[in-house]
């Protein structure tokens, strides 16, 4: 009797948490969702169809602000870019891979004001190059998102140099 009560309480809690997570989307959830979309759009499966690639490119365009600033250690990769320029660059890199997966882990999100979100995360990219070489890339980055027309758009990305030679 007691056991069945405990089990039903656990199931009830799981259902409530599931409903809360799916029905009440707060800003943190929306920001995370943007990165999830970015991750799935950059990812590449072996033998990806051309139609799929085109759809993914459009999705990436929708994630960035009209002028998104990149600040990296490499001068040539720094500066303001349009969403089209960003997706072109991403796809130029992507074309060199047979398959590629990108994940954003350890994400922390702050909201300094209601229209701005500052996120810190680690980018984890692994894939196989066309020449057969395996590639692992880890980088910490800070990212600023702006709330524009009800969607959180990436407006600034700064890569963090954890180890300075």
């Amino acid at each position: 009797m007691v056991i069945s009560r405990i089990i039903s309480i656990i199931i009830l809690v799981i259902i409530i948490v599931f409903v809360m997570m799916n029905c009440f989307h707060n800003d943190t959830w929306k920001v995370k969702k943007q990165f999830e979309t970015l991750s799935t759009s950059i990812a590449k499966k072996q033998g990806e169809k051309l139609l799929h690639t085109g759809l993914k490119k459009n999705k990436i365009n929708d994630l960035f602000d009209s002028k998104c600033t990149f600040k990296t250690q490499l001068y040539k990769n720094s500066g303001p870019f349009t969403p089209m320029e960003i997706s072109n660059r991403i796809f130029a890199v992507r074309n060199n891979f047979v398959y590629l997966s990108v994940n954003f882990v350890d994400m922390k999100i702050d909201f300094p004001d209601k229209n701005t979100a500052i996120t810190t995360f680690t980018v984890k990219a692994t894939g196989k190059r066309s020449d057969g070489k395996m590639e692992n890339y880890y980088r910490e980055a800070d990212c600023v998102l702006k709330l524009i027309k009800d969607s959180w758009l990436i407006s600034e990305i700064v890569t963090v140099e954890v180890l300075k030679k």
Binding site: D106, V160, K165
Partner: protein, 162 residues
Amino acid sequence: MSLIKKFFLPKLEKKFFLRIIILVIAAYIIFGYIFIPVVIDGHSMDPTYKHGKINFCNHFYYSFFKPEKNDVVFIRLAGKNVMYLKRIVALSGETVEFCNGTLIVNGKKVDSNNSEKCNWTLKPRVVKIGNVYVIGDNRSTTMEKHVFGQVLANRIMGVPLW
């Protein structure tokens, strides 16, 4: 026989659920905060720590000791899911340089028994206050490809358990 049966098919009573809950909480605390499980991915610390091996990050080690030269440490990026595994070669205020593959700290040659030979050359630089200078043991790659340098000491997450 009854013991085996008891172990694999326990009675679903109050005590059993209590044990399960305690076990889950203990595992969460131990493996989430004290001994963080890690898989070594990469060859930066070859031959000391080889690619693919499993280890644990002893997170509380530096609650009792201070980071010292020659310690192998885990360094966090944004969090504990991705960490660098490197060796401390210099502490704050010390000068580090490489001269034709020889590591020189404060003007003295450092015997790199654990590390691979290399031909790196790096101009002298002073480790800033609150930082430590870390390098991987595998120096057989080019200097540009090897991730190393000075890092804030508060990014050190702990040491490998073995």
